[in-house]
Amino acid sequence: MTADPLDLLGTMLLIRRFEERCAELYSNGQIRGFLHLYVGEEAVATGICAELTETDSVVSTYREHGHALARGVPLESLMAEMFGKVSGCSRGRGGSMHLFDRSRRFAGGNAVVAGGLPLALGLALGDAMQGRPAVTACFFGDGAMAEGEFHEVLNLAVLWRLPLLLCCENNLYAMGTAIAKEHGRTELALRAASYGATAWPVDGMDAIAVNRAAAQAVDEIRGGSGPVFLELQTYRFRAHSMYDPDRYRTKDEVARWRERDPIELLAARLRADGSLDDDALAATDARVTAQVAAAIEQAERGEEEAVAELTRFVYSESSTAAGSVR
């Protein structure tokens, strides 16, 4: 079963508008810390998450707004978290890099590259040992594949046939390091296949292709195949983070990729087959833009966590250790 393209388009637009506003808010100091934008990569999170059910789990990175929104984490709680408000999805403790929503099994942003992989392995193991049909989807980048954690985790997932969907977002760069300087062999899907995992490359700019691949992968995993690795070939249109002067790639290269903007690609296709017209697109855009604006207003009005609460959540409330934090 695959998703309705119009829904995919709506989700991608929501992510795009959400992040465009985040960039503004960052520039005028209302959002702080590090901010990693997903602009250009929206088709990946959107196409994958559309195939996941409530009981599946998701593990993300520091570039996670798209994953969180596609997973259905309410944008109000996400925006509030960007502002560090207590109404944020992590009560203001996490910020952009650490968005969590346990009720939606969104096990968060991990900001140590590849650090989410062992965690995701464990979520999949936990489901498997409890006989649940659930899948754990773990997003990570091309750069993360060079870390030892990737190797250990994929080997174990194959060895134990765990229900793990490895979503490698190959955007050709790890910060300013081009993929050819990251890997001796840059065919990432082939690399993964050598571990014994089912693996294939996917056009990460084509939301429908990503969604089809996700549907097939999730099918296989629920059927007991063990881990599936998808190399989602995409590109980041903006700098690595708001700190990045983007010196390491040419304007041309970026421009060429922008011609394959996943939102425009899908919109064009839907226009072509008559399922979308300008008014409908404008209406969707207006809707998500308004949603984001409302979320920002709400976040601005949100309360700040009281400083007296600083030492909460170091240990569980029920723990006798909770009182020990100084």
Binding site: S57, G88, C89, S90, R91, G92, R93, G94, H98, F100, D101, R102, A107, G108, N110, V112, G115, L117, P118, L119, A120, L121, G122, L123, A124, L125, G126, D127, M129, Q130, G148, E149, E152, V153, N155, L156, L159, R312, F313, V314, Y315, S316, E317, S318, S319, T320, A321, S324, V325
Partner: protein, 328 residues
């Protein structure tokens, strides 16, 4: 009427605790290198594979970071994993998962993701295993907020700390000292879960407080005996839990004795002994007759040669000498 007791060892007590946990809660499983077919590198889990099967007694490849992280994830997903890292020396490979996931997830997520994982490892020197197999880093781990660190030094604690750790909603690291596995003694037949919040006074005394834990407890008690013979009455406090520290018991004892010696197998500089000294002088400065003494390991990668290793570690006589110095 005296409770029935059984002859046992530290190793058997740990095994019995594992067996009980596995029997009583189907969410519990043991995972680590050679815990299964090999029987555990120190034979702690010997026989458990046969009794509970490979799903619950899980041999892992050499992949510390991945299987420790897997324990963290499985705990979040509703299991009660007991992860065995063969020795603390190798746990460095999993430190990112321990500090940045196990210890941080609850706070980073604003209270949503608690991590009820238990991680066991062997620690300590004394068996001529040299620099890469002799670290005592449990006190160093005690620096990390979000973790609970326990160090069983007795048969009761070897038998009882695991059950309590498994009930703890947060990550607990259990450090078993390699020199204790063969420790023999009597244990109550009905021994079970023990408190892991408090230090214990293992020997009452009035003139000086000797503070130790884990592998150093036995020699500290010996030192107390020797001091007794000299007419110095030493109280021995077994920390048991290194994080959070039980200030009340430590400070209470020092307030009475006015003198203290901290015995720590860790390298002296930046060892847990420093934190204990700092807390004593912060909370009982005016009760002290003189500086708190420390007996720690020499700051060297542990050498192989017997006489060098012995010289690098706290010994009964160095503890006794330190206690004497507190009398000025």
């Amino acid at each position: 009427m005296k409770a029935k007791t059984v002859e046992t060892t530290y190793r058997e007590a740990l095994r019995e605790a594992l067996r009980e946990a596995l029997r009583e809660d189907e969410r519990v499983f043991l995972m680590g290198e050679d815990v299964g077919s090999y029987g555990g590198c120190f034979a702690v889990s010997l026989g458990l594979l046969e009794e509970f099967g490979p799903e619950r007694i899980r041999d892992t490849p050499l992949s510390e970071s991945a299987f420790v992280g897997a324990g963290i994830g499985a705990a979040i997903q509703g299991m009660r994993p007991i992860v065995e890292v063969m020795t603390v020396n190798f746990s460095l490979l999993a430190l990112d998962q321990i500090m940045n996931n196990a210890a941080s997830l609850l706070h980073m997520s604003g209270g949503q993701y608690d991590v009820p994982v238990v991680i066991r490892m062997t620690t300590g020197a004394g068996r001529q295993l040299a620099a890469q197999h002799s670290h005592s880093l449990e006190g160093w781990y005690a620096h990390i907020p979000g973790l609970r660190i326990v160090t069983p030094a007795t048969l009761e604690d070897a038998r009882g700390m695991l059950a309590t750790a498994l009930r703890d909603p947060d990550p607990v690291l259990i450090f078993e000292h390699g020199s204790l596995y063969n420790l023999k003694g009597k244990l109550r037949a009905d021994a079970g879960a023990v408190d892991i919040d408090h230090a214990a006074v293992r020997r009452p005394g009035d003139d000086v407080t000797l503070i130790a834990y884990g592998g150093m407890l036995a020699r500290t008690l010996e030192a107390a005996e020797a001091l007794d013979a000299e007419g110095m009455s030493a109280e021995v406090v077994d920390l048991r839990t290194l994080r959070p520290l039980d200030d009340a018991t430590i400070i209470g004892s020092v307030r009475r004795t006015h003198r203290a010696v901290v015995v720590d197998e860790g390298w002296r500089s930046g060892s847990l002994s420093a934190e204990i000294v700092a807390r004593i002088q912060e909370q009982a400065f005016y009760d002290l007759d003189g500086p708190v003494e420390r007996v720690c390991s020499a700051e060297v990668p542990m050498p192989y040669a017997q006489q060098l290793e012995a010289a690098a570690l706290p010994q009964v006589d160095s503890i006794v000498a330190a206690a004497r110095r507190t009398k000025g």
